[in-house]
């Protein structure tokens, strides 16, 4: 396997159109690891990568029940931003943003991170006050953000409907220029490849069916490929976090809901940035391939079904057409749902548990993709030192007992 991609490796393999090596080796599980990560999505793979790279722990297995990046990592709308209101949240997402900015070089894998900016629209006076407040908080926290009015939005995005006659007229927006999108599958592949280059075993089609706990300490896991021992286990299984927690006899403050998205047929470039609206509830960008990537909201009921209600699709389509009447005849190509685990305060849990050696990274809800590198990074340090990374401290699971919730719902809980 090629250790490093370069112009030379591209030229060498491309000239003969052969020797295209497999990007990630297929591993079989060993009987014992220093750390086991349950879940081979972006966050789990990033955790393994940073464990190997920054914490010097390379005897690590990532266990994935399907294929890597086949869950929410491959199902989201790929939006990356860090303009959160609360200090705790914005520090974590900004940490992630800085890692995104160097990620392709760091992983030696093009994750197609494109800082095309994100507009968060405001449609009412209260929206605009909240936007002003959030932008001011962002600037104080060193996160780039500006408030723009509807004229500037129209100048930047000529196809948007800023008419006063709209049902919910656009009054302005916050704009984060460093925000953008990335290639979601590429992120999983990049982290997996870089981690396996450092010695991590990425094991696919290996479902964890039980977690072994003895005298309050984790001992290992039972999987469909046999038992694997480890005295440190990190669970990063998103929508299925409660299912995994139950194996260890734990309950979590999360509920799983379907979150839907859809893409159109590919078109010529028409939308160069990302537009999100909490008030009318939809968000849209155009991928490099040309399709419009549109995200909706969650269904209110619990589900593990990876599909949602038509009602949500209709609501979201109405919102997008309100913003962009020109899209009314665009044909949709695919629609799907992902299962997101939502915390009561719309902030994640990055935390040790009552069981020694068992850690959880969950509750990212509707906005986990943007946090992929940052989440993996702080979770790796949390596992390696058996002590929360300083940015992860506010995200301890005990905040639901102490009451120190991070009230991000109003600021960011809707559109991601």
């Amino acid at each position: 396997m090629q250790k490093k991609y370069s112009w030379y490796s591209l030229l060498k393999a491309g000239l003969g159109n052969q020797e295209w090596d497999q990007a990630i080796p297929l591993s079989k599980p060993k009987s014992k690891y220093d750390v086991i990560i349950i879940g081979g999505g972006g966050h789990g793979l990033a955790t393994a990568y940073y464990l190997a790279k920054e914490c010097g722990i390379t005897n690590v297995a990532v266990l994935e029940k399907g294929y890597i990046g086949g869950g929410n990592t491959g199902r989201n709308t790929t939006i990356i931003r860090s303009n959160y209101l609360r200090d705790e949240a914005s520090s974590l997402y900004e940490h992630s943003m800085r890692l995104w900015e160097g990620l392709s070089e760091d992983l030696n894998f093009n994750v197609m991170f494109s800082q095309r900016g994100v507009y968060n629209l405001g449609h009412t006076l209260q929206d605009m006050r909240d936007i002003e407040r959030r932008v001011n908080a962002n600037v104080l926290n060193g996160v780039d953000a500006v408030v723009v009015d509807h004229k500037e939005i129209k100048e930047q995005i000529p196809i948007i409907n800023t008419s006063k006659n709209a049902r919910y007229p656009i009054m302005g927006a916050s704009f984060q220029a460093r925000a953008g999108v990335a290639r979601h599958d590429g992120v999983a592949w990049g982290f997996a490849r870089a981690a396996s280059n450092l010695g991590v075993d990425i094991i696919q089609n290996c479902e964890v069916i039980d977690i072994e706990v003895e005298e309050g300490r984790v001992k290992g896991v039972k999987t469909t490929l046999g038992d694997i021992m480890s005295d440190r286990v990190g669970c990063v299984s998103a929508g299925h976090s409660s299912v995994v927690a139950k194996m260890a006899g734990l309950r979590l403050p999360v509920e799983s809901h379907p979150l839907q998205a859809f893409v159109s047929e590919a078109m010529k470039p028409i939308l160069h940035t990302v537009v999100m609206s909490n008030a009318v509830h939809g968000y849209v960008s155009q991928s490099d391939k040309g399709d419009l990537v549109i995200g909706a909201g969650i269904d209110g009921y619990n589900s593990y079904a990876q599909r949602g209600s038509a009602k949500i699709v209709e609501h979201c389509a109405a919102a997008i057409l309100e913003l962009f009447p020109i899209f009314s005849r665009v044909r949709m190509n695919r629609q799907w749902g992902g299962i997101v685990d939502v915390c009561p305060d719309a902030c994640p849990v990055i935390s040790p548990t009552k069981i020694e050696g068992l850690y959880f990274n969950c509750g990212w809800g509707t906005g986990g993709f943007k946090a992929t590198p940052g989440s993996g990074n702080v979770f790796a340090h949390t596992i390696a030192q058996d002590k929360q990374h300083e940015l992860a401290v506010p995200f301890h699971i005990d905040r639901f007992t102490s009451g120190a919730l991070i009230d991000e719902h109003g600021a960011a809980g809707v559109a991601h």
Partner: protein, 94 residues
Amino acid sequence: MFLIDCPYCKESRDQNEFSPAGEAFIARPQNPEELSDDEWADYVFYRTNHKGDHWEQWVHTNGCRKFFLVKRSTISHEILEVAAFGEVTSENKS
């Protein structure tokens, strides 16, 4: 999208008329003064989030506006049972 039989309206109506209202059978503690913080956290925030057949509450928002109980599969969305409060309890639920 699914149809729900409202136990009060006695009609099978579109899901759009209803709103989900969370896990069923979460009883408010009888002895609030004696509860520890952990027990309060469990009551307020922690949920079973069960994968499989799940008892939950729905409200007929655009109909009779009454709350009732639904047993629904969180894997297939199939509705297995509908009941008014009191007809099914945490003790006699199937």
